[in-house]
């Protein structure tokens, strides 16, 4: 059981970020204008190097199930892309003693116009399966995905749950020595998540190796005896899952969002700087900072902000997004201040999602938004998927009767627990 199947040595991946271009590709015009631009104007492009994966080394033995955790943008996905050969390392070496199948996204290569049956074959081929292998596994895939009646329906008519089930079923029935799974279980009902975890466990018992990335600590705990934590492209800890998760929670608690966090990253943080969050914390009823909740537990958002330019009122808006489609599933907003606010005003606010059984289990990336009361685009601050996602899990192994298992959008009751401001000199 202890022969090494994946050996990662000093692995690094560098990206060069050009600040001028919003798109990653260029056009010929840019190249031409830049070539002939000997002007004394200020430099058009400032580029910055960014090490998405930085000098990682670790080994994985045959049949091991390794969890990989870390914050958004920590380098987990890049690591998986390197191991699955989607992108090439800048430095370092990976030795694989077996074939890799990776499930980095649900249903890659699925075509919405094709039927379930057609997509099984297509997706299987994309993942490197032979036609004969797919034929042999076909019935097993269909029954695992529970889509027998819809086999000849175009997948564009599938519900998102059916779509996920089918996609996972195809990938899980590959017979690679190494299976890589990234965050894909975030959707799907609890029953199916459990089934997937069970399937991955079986894969491990058959002597094959599983690499599993998730924000869902329960799933990691259940599946992986060993876990590594990555932060800023570096390996922070490689230990037993409990130890690593404890370490991670410690780090997450200590990382604070302030007015400068990710300020240069247009994706994660937007806004001109008229107002900024200076703290965002998610806590349970005991005031402990934690991102995981049982269904029905109260969730508290504790936030602080600072005003830099005069604002006509302050409004806060929080959205829970879908872990897969990244669309908003529910949101709520509250006007915190109704009058003009002077620069240097600071405020603290606590919101509560009360203990109602309204949020189904799953992982919800969070979106925080401050604005004036007219929602003027010039005076916003957006913190998008920077904090840990909110994790809601089932209370027990059984479905608790009476819990609405909603899909699509829903609304949650939220209220302001406390909102106070500290004005610079006098009240505005």
């Amino acid at each position: 059981m202890s022969n090494t199947i994946i050996k990662v040595e000093n692995l690094s991946k560098r990206y060069v970020i050009k600040h001028q271009n919003r798109e990653r590709y260029t056009t010929l015009r840019d190249v031409i204008t830049n070539t002939f631009n000997f002007s004394n104007k200020k430099k058009l492009h400032t580029s910055e190097e960014f090490w998405a994966v930085n000098n990682l080394s670790f080994n994985i033995g045959q049949g091991e199930r390794l969890g990989i955790i870390g914050r958004n943008g920590a380098g987990k996905s890049t690591l998986l892309k390197l191991i699955s050969r989607i992108t090439e390392p800048t430095m370092g070496k990976i030795t694989l003693n077996g074939r890799v199948a990776s499930l980095l996204e649900i249903g890659t290569g699925f075509h919405p116009e094709l039927t379930g049956r057609e997509n099984i074959f297509l997706n299987g081929a994309v993942l490197g399966m032979r036609r004969l292998e797919i034929k042999k596994k076909f019935d097993e895939i269909v029954s695992f995905a529970e889509i027998e009646q819809f086999l000849d329906t175009p997948v564009k008519r599938y519900s998102s749950g059916m779509y996920v089930r089918l996609a996972f079923a195809v990938a899980a029935h590959l017979e690679p020595e190494i299976l890589i799974v990234d965050e894909v279980l975030a959707v799907g009902d609890a029953h199916f998540q459990k089934k997937c975890l069970g399937k991955m466990e079986d894969v491990g018992k058959e002597g094959r190796t599983v690499l599993f990335v998730s924000h869902n600590m329960m799933a990691i705990r259940q599946l992986c005896p060993r876990c590594i934590l990555i932060d800023q492209g570096k390996l922070i800890i490689d230990d037993k899952t409990n130890t690593t998760i404890n370490h991670y929670n410690q780090i997450s608690k200590n990382t604070k969002i302030d007015e400068k966090t990710h300020i240069h990253n247009e994706k994660l943080r937007r806004g001109e700087g008229a107002i900024r969050f200076t703290k965002i914390e998610i806590t349970n009823a005991l005031g402990e900072s934690c991102p995981s909740f049982k269904i029905g537990e109260s969730i508290f958002f504790k936030m602080s902000y600072k005003v830099f330019k005069i604002m006509d009122g302050v409004k806060i808006h929080i959205a829970l997004k879908s872990g897969i489609s990244r669309e908003t599933v529910t949101n709520f907003e509250h006007i915190l201040l109704d009058n003009p606010v002077l620069p240097d005003t600071e405020g603290d606010v606590t919101l509560e999602i009360a203990a109602h059984h309204v949020i189904r289990s799953g992982e919800y990336p969070l979106y925080f938004h401050l604005a004036d009361k007219h929602d003027s685009p010039a005076s916003i601050d957006v913190v998008d998927e920077v904090t840990l996602p909110l994790v809601i899990s089932e209370e027990s192994d059984l479905h608790t009767p009476g819990i609405p298992m909603r899909s699509g959008c829903f609304s949650v009751p939220s209220r302001i627990i406390e909102s106070k401001i500290h004005s610079p000199n006098h009240h505005a």
Binding site: K81, I83, I86, E88, V100, S102, L104, L122
Partner: protein, 275 residues
């Protein structure tokens, strides 16, 4: 079932040998992607497969009227529609293949950034899809030939060779353009323009014999000249084949294919990061 001694070392710029093994491993994907594109195309259209028949037929009629009847260009002793159709076949194969393969990577950007497979599969299967259309159009040619009671000569045995050359020309140029397309999206606009011009500078609507003798060799540097002349020679057999011209076209095709493949392989490793 599984190769137990499979070992793979991933290092920057050192995966060349593995690449061609992978192409072999993923050989069925060429077929599956082509199959997908064909299925999807006909699922979204009303008259489906009829499009493959209507396009060359209409073009044939228009070209016959304009070049044969109005401009009164020589028809080399065969019915003008046959002269046009025997050139339409390789031309439409080439132009469709070029257009589809040059868009194949950006059209499947999601797959490129989420799954590994040899990227070469993508433009190649686009060419295969166009080949399927070619086969359908070819059966129309046979019907047109029957209509005119035209019997092809034994030269037709050489047709597979010219089909192969068309395939290589389209793939070579397609590899080049799809790789460029990933980085510079301008090529989305360049390709249709080149194809439009190409239709007029290639001898599709007329016979290449109307080109002055002095310029013949120069004209044959357009790879489609050699291919179209070859098709006409093999199918109609009405005029002898101009060998130096054919060689010039073959040389161009060879050059395009090698440089296209080279450029594709060189840029391939960055596709997932750029696309």
């Amino acid at each position: 079932m599984q190769d137990t001694n499979f070992t793979l070392i991933i290092e920057a710029g050192k995966n060349k040998k593995q690449y061609f093994k992978d192409i072999w491993h993923y050989r069925e994907l060429f077929y599956f992607l082509a199959w997908r594109d064909i299925l999807v195309r006909y699922k979204q259209t009303v008259i489906g497969i009829l499009w493959v028949i209507i396009r060359p037929l209409l073009t044939m009629i228009v070209f016959t009227v304009i070049f044969g009847k109005i401009a009164k260009l020589p028809s080399e002793g065969v019915p003008y529609p046959l002269l046009v159709f025997s050139a339409m076949l390789p031309w439409q194969f080439f132009s469709n293949a070029l257009l589809d393969s040059s868009n194949s990577l950006i059209g499947n950007a999601n797959m490129i950034s989420k799954v590994y497979f040899p990227r070469l599969v993508m433009p190649t299967s686009a060419v295969i899809v166009s080949f399927a259309d070619f086969v359908i159009s070819f059966s129309i040619l046979i019907m047109v030939m029957i209509w005119y009671r035209f019997t092809p000569s034994l030269n037709i045995l050489f047709l597979p060779f010219f089909i192969f050359i068309t395939f290589m020309a389209a793939l070579g140029a397609g590899l080049f353009l799809c790789a460029l397309n990933v980085k510079y999206r301008d090529f989305r606009y360049v390709v249709p323009f080149v194809i439009q011009l190409g239709l007029y500078i290639s001898p599709v609507g007329f016979s290449s014999h109307i080109v002055p003798e002095n310029y013949k060799l120069l004209y044959a540097l357009n790879p489609m000249v050699g291919v179209i002349d070859g098709f006409r020679w093999a199918l109609l057999g009405n005029t002898p084949l101009y060998i130096p011209g054919l060689l010039a076209s073959l040389l161009t095709v060879f050059f395009i294919f090698i440089s296209g493949l080279w450029y594709f392989r060189k840029t391939e490793k960055d596709f997932a990061d750029v696309i």
